[in-house]
Structures are given as C-alpha cells and as structure tokens.
C-alpha cells in the first residue's frame, strides 16, 4: 500500500520533505517512520530516542489529525494515508 510521509522543518532537511513509501499490512505509524529514517542517523536520532521511541517534543499527524506519539506504535497505516512528522520551531 502506498503511504505519503512528510517531514517538516529540521526533519525535512535531514530526511527529505515528502516521501512516497510502500507500506506493509500491519505496519504501525511509528514503524513506518522508523523505517523511513533508518538510513540517516542524524535524521533518525533527531526524531527517536535511544529506545526507538519518538522524542517527547515530536509531533505526529495522520491524515492531518494529531496522534499521540506514544500511541504511534499501536496505530496502523492504511492505503493512501498521509503521515506528517515535525518539531516545534523555537526561533523568534
């Protein structure tokens, strides 16, 4: 199944802004993001902590609705989903 994964701000600079990913049945939102970021250590480390959990400031959206990042391992992707991952930006 095809899923669109979008990274914003610093995450997009590290991992690309928009990726079209061939997802697998039973794949979680967190699993999808982990797999997409796995090839880029700086990008992966910016999003995930050493246990593989989303860092607590990371915002995860599924189809423009926010999901709690701690639930992202239990929410499964569907055909046509758009997953967005971004950090709050701090500058002013």
């Amino acid at each position: 199944m095809k899923v669109k994964l979008r990274f914003f701000a610093r995450f997009g600079e590290l991992l690309g802004n928009s990726l079209c990913i061939e997802g697998r049945e039973g794949m979680s939102v967190a699993g999808l993001v982990r797999e997409a970021a796995a090839g880029n250590k700086a990008g992966y480390d910016a999003i995930f902590d050493e246990t593989g959990a989303f860092r607590n400031f990371v915002i995860v959206m599924r189809n423009k609705k926010r999901i709690r990042s701690q639930d992202a391992d239990l929410i499964y992707i569907s055909e046509g989903d758009e997953i967005a991952v971004f950090p709050p930006v701090a500058g002013g």
Partner: protein, 233 residues
C-alpha cells in the same frame, strides 16, 4: 483608515499590546502594529543590537549596532507613528517581571526564541484571560496560532514538551511572513472581525512555498490549562 472606519481606528487606539521580544518576529509585528495605530505598544527585550541581527530585525539598522534593542526599537516605532504610546523596556521576561510587563495588556505577542519563556507567557495569558499570538521560526520554516484561553488549546496543549535548545539561522523573510500572520491576528482580534487562527496551527515552509494548517485540540491533562472551558463572563 477607510477599511476600519473611525470606530475601528478608535478600537485600535484604545488597545494595549505587549510584544515579547524585539528580534526577528518582534520587529515586523511592532512595525505593523505601530503603523496600524495600536494605541499603546509595550515591548520588552534585554539584548543589544548586533550586526548579525540586521538580516531580519528590521526595527534596528546599521547605526544601532551596540545600542540596546529596547532603545533602538522605541526610537524606530516613535518615528514611524508619533501618535501612539511606545513603552520599550529593557528587561528580561521572567517570573519576576512578567506580571508588571503584561499588567495593562489586551493581548500578548509571542516573539520569543525559547519555549520556557513562552510557557511563562502562556500561563500569564491564561491567568489574565487574554489572547496569546504565537509565532515560531527556523530557517525558512515557521508556525503560528492564536490562543484564546478557554476557547482554544493553550500553548502547552499544543507543545507539551519543548524542543532541544539549538541555534538555527533564520531567514529574514520567514520572520516577516510569520510576523505578518501574528500582526494580522492582533488586528482582527482588536477589531472583532474575521476568523482567527484559532484551534489551528499554521505551518509555513518557505522552501516549498507551502502553507498548511493542522487542527489542534485541548489536552485535558495539560499542566497549564487542564483543557479548561471558556470562562463565564
């Protein structure tokens, strides 16, 4: 101004807005609120103008390098509109100063560069029941939302945890873009016109030339507002 009428201009003239920071976001917000005719602008900053600020901090110019930002900003705003009152204060915004800085404010503009102080402003906005016009920028990215205590998620509902402190360069145009969103929100709020950027987080990606918005919701477990309902008036 024809667009607002005499009544609208009076509403702006009677208003007091506190702008937290005279840097990248504070500059365009302050300039446009001044020329809009917002009657009293209180602006606080504890920094000195440096050459590296000048790509985005349009309150200050070459000859202001080395001056306190509050002084430079006050001079610039008074030159732009001598008919308004500008209180440019050289102060650090912290728990000891925030009450007096915001005492008379009808709204707070978040033009800060860190989340701990943003959370402080968030709590004050909730306590005083006044709006917080949030903006944040990094590189060519920006975000903005308007927080109305009780009616919208508060800043802590949206961002319960601060991102790590990092120094990123900011494109001046990003500060201009997000600052204009914030100033527009202040204007609409004071005039009671239009639809505010409430319950929505606007995301701007200048490199992709995309504006997106996402729905945001109150967090019943929020440590600052506990997802509280609107106050009864």
């Amino acid at each position: 101004m024809m667009l607002f009428g005499d009544e609208g201009q009076e509403l702006l003239k009677d208003a007091t807005i506190f702008i937290a920071g005279a840097g990248g976001l504070g500059s365009p917000v302050a300039v446009y609120l001044a020329v809009l005719g917002v009657g009293t602008i209180i602006l606080a900053d504890n920094d000195t103008v440096e050459r590296t600020n000048l790509n985005r901090q349009i309150l200050h110019g070459e000859r202001d390098i080395g001056r306190r930002k509050s002084v430079s900003a006050g001079d610039r705003l008074e030159a732009l509109n001598p008919d308004i009152t500008v209180k440019a204060i050289d102060a650090t915004i912290d728990a000891t100063t925030v009450h007096s800085l915001t005492d008379t404010a009808d709204g707070i503009v978040d033009a800060l560069d860190n989340y701990p102080t943003r959370y402080l402003l968030n709590r004050i906005a909730i306590e005083k029941d006044i709006p917080l016009f949030h903006g944040g920028i990094s590189g060519f990215f920006g975000q903005a939302t308007t927080i109305i205590p009780g009616e919208t998620p508060c800043l802590r509902c949206i961002f319960p945890h601060p991102p790590p402190r990092e120094v990123f360069p900011v494109a001046g145009v990003t500060a201009g873009f997000i600052g204009m969103v914030q100033a527009t929100e202040v204007c609409k709020y004071l005039l009671c016109k239009g639809e505010l950027l409430a319950n929505r987080l606007l995301l701007w990606d200048g490199m992709q030339a995309r504006v997106e918005e996402i729905a945001i919701e109150k967090d019943p477990s929020c440590e600052d507002c506990a997802g509280r309902a609107p106050p009864e008036h």
